[in-house]
């Protein structure tokens, strides 16, 4: 396992809001800020739209880590979606940790439309820490026999 980690490239699914983080990621692009290529974005209107089931499903589908990112408090395009999201994720974060999921596999962040550089850092940090943790074999091992053989 630890040997595998050396050349292991994590797959990370990111759930981001359209107005802040997605736009911030656009800005990172227009500013040509280079970053790790392990992260795949899924655009949502608001972090308020994100159901913890999305994250669970991402793990089911083999993600080694997830990122959830949206507008800073008080910046929500919809005024309060991120506040509701914050509580939802707090509970989710704690319960996942309770059942033994390493919280470092779940990055939550606020990245505004003007924080292209911060987005790059969030991405790079998430990739590094998940790379250190190695593949999320523990979760994949839950797959039913038939699937694992396939």
């Amino acid at each position: 396992m630890s040997d595998a980690r050396t050349d292991f490239e994590p797959r990370i699914t990111a759930f981001v809001c359209n107005w802040c983080t997605y736009t911030g990621a656009d800005l990172a692009g227009t500013s040509r800020l280079h970053m790790a290529s392990n992260v795949r974005l899924i655009r949502l209107p608001c972090t308020g739209r994100i159901d913890p089931l999305f994250i669970v499903k991402a793990f089911e589908r083999g993600a080694d880590g997830v990122i959830v990112s949206g507008c800073h408090p008080a910046d929500c395009h919809y005024t309060s979606g991120n506040y509701h999201a914050r509580r939802r994720f707090a509970v989710f974060h704690d319960i996942m940790e309770f059942i033994g999921v390493d919280p470092r596999r779940m990055t939550f962040s606020w990245v505004s439309a003007s924080e292209g550089a911060k987005w790059r850092d969030v991405v790079n940090e998430a990739v590094t820490s998940v790379r250190d943790l190695g593949p999320f074999e523990a979760y994949r091992a839950l797959a039913p026999e038939a699937e694992r053989l396939a």
């Binding site: 990621a25 280079h34 795949r40 899924i42 209107p45 499903k57 993600a63 080694d64 509701h84 939802r88």
Partner: protein, 675 residues
């Protein structure tokens, strides 16, 4: 079964440089449900769009994925194209393989793999897209303009002349902004006041313009076409309706030695005062910090220690007990024109900016900044236009002008060029020579940037006709030497050190974003760059729009701008606002939530979290007509599509159109590690 078309754009070389676009198209051909996939140099070009339209017809596609730039860039473009081909526009989605891929990665293999994933993800989403109709929302045809400088005034006038009401707010006591402080303006040397004042008055008297001075934006709610703005009217202590601007209060005020902000500290003002004679409105403000009466109150003295202005005011317009008041204005568009401030050289500097202690500003009275020189040169200024140095009021025979003080100096924290300094320093040299014929004007510059109509001619004139000496090089130190100001500089062209015994030094200090701009930006949910200048939506194609629909930007709050540019931007925002107001309704994406009445149990958790109060409770009846329960109902007119309701719905009985559970599930599914 879906028949999706995938169109991969090279974006010239912006994408193809790092992403193997052919490989992406190839990979997508095998993707379940993909009926057509190809790549093209410029998808957004006419032939590119035509290619999409033809492919839709020839392969009767049920959905379209454009793998190109950010949806924020070209989604509209392609939805229009798809629509023309007879496919519902919402069956088209963008896969962002430029901003989110080719521009941020170097390794071609990685970038290509990622681009394929991104395209697959969006293909999976589109498979579950539904044909939808746009939603129409009414527009409040009133505009808010924040900032009463030349840009704000221009924008307000353009919109008002267009027949729409404008609310113009200015945080100072008078509109006019920095331009009202200037003496003469480059490159024509016409008097700033002479061209500005009429505009100020016009704005003040315009039937469509509602002016709030000494006021600031408290909060902004709502969205394009429907903003509600709360305005804080700061306590003025003067009743604007009663005051007739006679100035008796000013005359009566015993506190006369307060450095005047308008005179850049070179002149004095009273505690109750109008900032300058031509102020609009010509109504004074009582400066409670410096007022004797309020000092007394702060000390908690039993009886009022002053009150002379009140006694002097025959109109009884003065009221010491006014407090900040708030007014709400409903507007459909907002123009931000809050302008700039000068680099406050040598004094306390914000985080990361070092300042120029070595230039002696603040200690050496005869080292001044550009605005102070403007006041010296201004006919209405403290010296009535005579160039006299602050220390002893004598006429300086040698004046040194230093460019780029603060600007273009990453060491000191600001890397950008303030753009106007070359021109105004040349102007200053010129004005000085016009007034002091035997005087010597020396300017130290890095590069002479005089791009602009008549600009280069202007700066050449300063050198060739008025004999200003331009030395290419930086100044290392400025200090007092007897009654002289010693300037140590370096001439990089002759490669020699230059030491000048000057009588006065003028520093062309950098232009910086106004204080409080970040707070304001947050209220408007627009973004700012690292220096606090407001970000435009697109540097080239949408220079006066912001990331927030309905909020526009003009003048020096977006970047260092000179007057012509600020005015041009202002008129541009005017045009933008006018076009926004040209229709009674706005079209909005049908991103609204819909409740499934069969499974909703009416717990109304959705209503608790809806930021817009868009969720109502509705009774439902059984077949026999009797009320058998209640369910939630989302009012599509009010819903803004955040989807928070859907995330809290335990039974998944509410779906947000354009971001349905099926769409998101399919996207997650597409990122399966075992693909």
């Amino acid at each position: 079964m879906s028949r999706i078309g995938v169109f991969v754009c090279h974006c010239g070389e912006n994408i193809s440089r790092t992403v193997d676009v052919e490989a992406v198209a190839e990979a997508l051909k095998d993707h379940p449900g993909v009926a057509f996939a190809t790549d093209y140099k410029y998808m957004c070009s006419d032939p590119g769009q035509a290619l999409v339209r033809e492919a839709i017809e020839e392969n009767d596609l049920t959905g379209v994925v454009i793998a190109a730039c950010s949806p924020h860039m070209h989604e509209k473009t392609f939805r229009r194209a798809v629509d023309q081909a007879g496919l519902n526009q919402f069956m088209c989605e963008m896969a962002n393989i430029r901003e989110h891929c080719s521009w941020i990665h170097e390794d071609r293999a990685d970038a290509t793999a990622k681009a394929i994933d991104i395209a697959r993800t969006i293909v999976e989403k589109v498979k579950h897209n539904q044909p939808l109709e746009t939603i129409r929302i009414p527009v409040t045809k009133r505009a808010l303009v924040i900032g009463g400088g030349i840009a704000g005034i221009q924008a307000a006038l353009d919109i008002a002349d267009g027949g729409h009401e404008v609310v113009l707010i200015e945080k100072e006591a008078s509109i006019g902004g920095h331009m009202s402080q200037l003496s003469e303006t480059f490159p024509t040397l016409d008097c700033s006041q002479c061209i500005l004042t009429p505009r100020m008055v016009e704005a003040y008297q315009h039937p469509n313009i509602k002016l709030y001075t000494w006021s600031e934006v408290e909060s902004v709610d709502g969205y394009i076409g429907n903003f509600t703005v709360k305005i804080r009217k700061k306590a003025r202590s003067v009743n604007e309706d009663l005051c007739n601007g006679c100035g008796d209060c000013q005359a009566a005020c015993p506190v006369k030695k307060i450095p005047s902000e308008f005179e850049a500290g070179l002149g004095k003002r009273t505690a109750i005062s109008v900032p300058f004679p031509q102020a609009v409105p010509n109504i004074p403000v009582l400066d409670r910090q410096n007022c004797t009466l309020f000092k007394g109150r702060r000390k908690g003295l039993a009886k009022e220690v002053c009150g002379k202005c009140k006694e002097a005011c025959l109109k009884g317009a003065i009221d010491y007990d006014t407090e900040d008041t708030f007014v709400e204005e409903a507007v459909g568009a907002i123009v931000v024109a809050t302008g700039y401030k000068l680099y406050d050289i040598g004094r306390e500097q914000p985080e990361g900016i070092k300042g120029y202690g070595e230039y002696g500003y603040g200690e050496v009275p005869d080292v001044i900044d550009g605005l102070q020189f403007e006041r010296l040169a201004s006919a209405s200024g403290p010296t009535a236009g005579a160039i006299l140095r602050p220390s002893d009021g004598t006429e300086p025979k040698t004046v040194v002008f230093v460019h780029c003080v603060g600007s273009r100096d990453p060491e000191k924290g600001i890397k950008y060029c303030s753009k106007i300094c070359c021109m105004y320093s040349a102007k200053h040299a010129m004005l000085y020579k016009h007034k002091v014929h035997d005087g010597r004007a020396v300017a130290f510059y890095m590069d002479l940037r005089a791009a602009g109509k008549g600009y280069d001619e202007f700066s050449r004139r300063a050198i060739e006709e008025d004999g200003a000496e331009f030395v290419r090089g930086r100044v290392s130190r400025i200090f007092r030497d007897g009654d002289k100001v010693k300037v140590w500089g370096y001439d990089t062209l002759n490669g020699e050190q230059v030491v000048i015994d000057a009588d006065m030094v003028v520093l062309a200090t950098a232009m910086r974003a106004q204080d409080g701009i970040r707070e304001l930006a947050q209220k408007l949910s627009v973004s700012t760059d690292e220096h606090g200048f407001i970000n435009e939506a697109h540097p080239k194609l949408r220079p006066v729009e912001t990331n927030t629909a309905g909020v526009f930007v003009a003048g020096a709050c977006q970047a260092p701008r000179d007057i012509p540019e600020s005015v041009a931007m202002a008129s541009a925002t005017g045009a933008k606002v006018m076009s926004l107001f040209s229709a009674d309704e706005l079209e909005r994406e049908p991103a609204v939530a819909i409740v499934n009445e069969n499974t909703c149990i009416g717990c109304m958790r959705c209503a608790d979290v809806c930021p817009y109060g868009a969720v109502e409770q509705r009774e439902i009846c059984a077949v026999d007509g009797h009320v058998c329960g209640h369910v939630a109902y989302v009012n599509p007119g009010v819903c803004q599509g955040c989807g928070t309701c859907q995330a809290v719905c335990l039974s998944k009985s509410v779906e947000l159109q354009t971001f349905t559970d099926e769409q998101i599930y399919s996207e997650i599914n597409a990122l399966c590690a075992w693909e």
